[in-house]
């Protein structure tokens, strides 16, 4: 079912960030050489959840269009979060890149859909999207080493 409410969008965001954090925790166990970086990503995800929730709880008002601010299909933002047992490092990083691209698309779409309707919430999604772009560059650089 598509998500139209702000509450639903925030829950989806939390769910995706948590799944992504689990993926990086797993990655950090498999590939110890970049453990620090992957754990830092996982930790950042928690921060993103807090930032978006803080924005939502700070500006939510029955007077604006909280129940009509989004049109998101959760199926458009699914990604693999389980790593095959014997996956190689480049393939694992490629999976991370796929996931980040999905997350980036989610944040950009959520920001765009709610930009006139939800005050600080779209700004928070945009900020997280920017961080995700930076993360994509970092992941790409891992493949170029």
């Amino acid at each position: 079912m598509e998500i139209n409410t702000c509450s639903g969008a925030i829950s989806l965001s939390r769910e995706l960030e948590n799944e992504s954090a689990k993926f990086y925790q797993e990655l950090s166990k498999r590939f110890e050489k970049d453990q620090e970086l992957f754990l830092a990503f996982a930790k950042e995800n928690e921060k993103y959840i807090k930032q978006i929730e803080r924005a939502y709880y700070g500006v939510i008002t029955d007077a604006l269009e909280g129940c009509f601010a989004f049109d998101l299909n959760p199926e458009d933002y699914q990604f693999k979060n389980a790593l095959p047992k014997d996956i190689s490092y480049p393939d694992a990083v490629a999976e991370a890149l796929n996931m980040e691209e999905t997350m980036l698309r989610f944040c950009q779409t959520a920001a765009e859909q709610s930009k006139h309707l939800m005050a600080d919430v779209p700004r928070s999604f945009t900020m997280v999207a920017k961080k995700r772009s930076e993360r994509l560059s970092k992941l790409k650089s891992l493949l170029e080493r």
Partner: protein, 496 residues
């Protein structure tokens, strides 16, 4: 998507809170029913006259000490209350959804707006400062001291059970008064939670009292000589003929915020997609049960193509609104509060059909998400070809019904708005600054929206209203509330 956990399990008993104690009532007990699930979630007393008198007595006794408490110390209680409300934000919000039916985004929005009033009242040390003139005559000075007055009564409605008492309560206690709140007996739980937190925040016994009930409690407040003023939010017949009239007779201050029939004026140059999203919240948010809901959609101009295209899009989006239990995060509109209110809305729909309006979306055909009894549910309804003199075009329906009208030009639109006896929250959607200003200047409405569908003033602005929508002088919220809850004591001083 998740269905959020209910914070109230089983059947909860409501008590009165008088002089810092939870007290059982001797009055009749009524069931409080969750309108979405149909389950009894609580028992609420209809308190007696003796019980309201006991609460007023406690508030009167607490007043002198509370008045002497410094504004800074009083504001610290409010700061603590604000902190506790943040900690309990989610529970308070879910309680509102359970008792009232509104969906979770709306409940959280209500909680936030309620807290904002506490935040504004935290500034009371500066908000209630007086002013001073030196040498009003040679060697004579004069100043004004805003002085607390005593015990105030606060009468809350069913549609915003948590927030509306907070338009008054924080300002009343911050300025040094004591209060007795009467929540609606249909939705008493969020006020129970609020007073529980107020006690924890450190308000002394007798400062913040709650007495549950109905007309007997209201009459008790109106008659009581020690109640110096009343704030009321509810229907126009009660606000005008009971509250305002009797407060006048007994010399009490009064704020009576009443009913509405709000017009949303659509100009052909509006931003259509953004306007349509705003229409959904305005007309169908809170299932249409708010005094700032859009009621009449007034499309301006003779461009039939624009009209048809706009209305088709409104109908399309409206028909997709997900109706169900508000704790389901996917839901965009909850039930109305109870079966009597639903029956009243159904009567209006039938009258619209009889009077010749065209029913283009029939909310009586229910489509509910989830397995819930249909007792209190309605889907959104849209009527076309409504005239301002039809019942559905002129009276407050207080439900999810949109009545669509047309006007030749903006002047005629304003004329139609102003001919209605209410004047609560009218809005215009346009990209023309000239038209927006012309509308704002000429429309007789207390709250005016420009590209805003629900014209709800934030806590540091007064919640206004005109004509049959408001009786009184000063309004709730912000600086006007501080003035309402204080008397100006003027001192003129000369030393020989």
């Amino acid at each position: 998507m998740a269905i959020l956990e209910e914070p109230i399990k089983g059947v909860k008993e409501v008590k009165n809170f008088i002089n810092g104690e939870w007290v059982d009532s001797k009055g009749k007990i009524v069931d409080v029913v969750n309108p979405a699930t149909g389950k009894v979630m609580g028992k609420c007393p209809i308190s007696t006259k003796e019980e309201i008198h006991a609460a007023v007595e406690a508030a009167k006794e607490a007043f002198p000490d509370w008045r002497r408490t410094t504004p800074l110390a009083r504001s610290r209680c409010l700061f603590r209350l604000k902190e506790l409300l943040e900690e309990n934000f989610e529970e308070v919000s879910r309680i509102q959804t359970m008792e009232h039916g509104k969906c979770i985004d709306e409940s959280r929005g209500e909680t936030r707006r309620g807290i904002e009033n506490v935040e504004v009242a935290c500034g009371i040390p500066t908000l209630m400062q007086g002013y001073y003139s030196e040498d009003i005559a040679s060697g004579i000075d004069e100043w004004v001291i805003p002085t607390p007055m005593g015990v105030f009564g606060i009468i809350g409605p069913f549609n915003f059970p948590f927030m509306i008492p907070l338009w008054s309560a924080p300002y009343a206690v911050a300025t040094g008064n004591t209060i007795v709140i009467k929540p609606s007996s249909e939705v008493p739980f969020s006020q129970m939670k609020l007073v529980e937190l107020a006690e924890e925040a450190g308000f002394p016994p007798g400062v913040w009292n709650v007495v549950n009930g109905g007309r007997t409690v209201v009459d008790g407040m109106l008659e009581h000589k020690d109640i110096v003023g009343i704030t009321f939010v509810g229907s126009t017949p009660t606000g005008k003929d009971v509250i305002y009239k009797r407060c006048g007779e007994t010399g009490k201050r009064v704020i009576a915020q009443c009913g509405a029939k709000n017009f949303i004026v659509i100009m052909p140059d509006c931003n259509v997609p953004a306007t349509i999203a705003a229409m959904m919240t305005s007309f169908f948010g809170n299932a249409g049960q708010r005094c700032l809901s859009g009621a009449n959609l007034l499309v301006v101009g003779d461009d039939d193509k624009f009209y048809k295209n706009f209305l088709d899009q409104v109908c399309d989006m409206t028909s997709k609104i997900k109706v169900g239990y508000g704790l389901d995060e996917a839901i965009q509109m909850g039930p109305v509060r109870d079966k009597d209110k639903k029956a009243n809305i159904l009567r209006y729909i039938e009258s619209g059909i009889k009077e010749g309006a065209k029913l283009i979306l029939d909310g009586r055909k229910l489509k509910i998400v989830g397995d819930y009894p249909d007792t209190c549910f309605l889907n959104p309804t849209i009527f076309e070809n409504v005239s301002p003199n039809m019942k559905i075009g002129s009276e407050e329906i207080f439900g999810p019904v949109m009545s669509v009208m047309r006007a030749k030009n903006l002047d005629q639109a304003i004329e139609i708005c102003n001919a209605n006896p209410f004047g609560n929250g009218d809005a215009i959607f346009t990209q023309s600054g000239r038209d927006a200003r012309y509308f704002q200047y000429n429309v007789e409405s207390g709250n005016v929206g420009i590209n805003i569908g629900v014209v709800a003033p934030v806590a540091f602005f007064p919640f206004s209203g005109m004509k049959d929508s408001f009786y009184g002088v000063l309004h709730t919220q912000g600086k006007e509330a501080v003035r309402f809850f204080t008397e100006s004591k003027v001192v003129i001083q000369r030393w020989f």
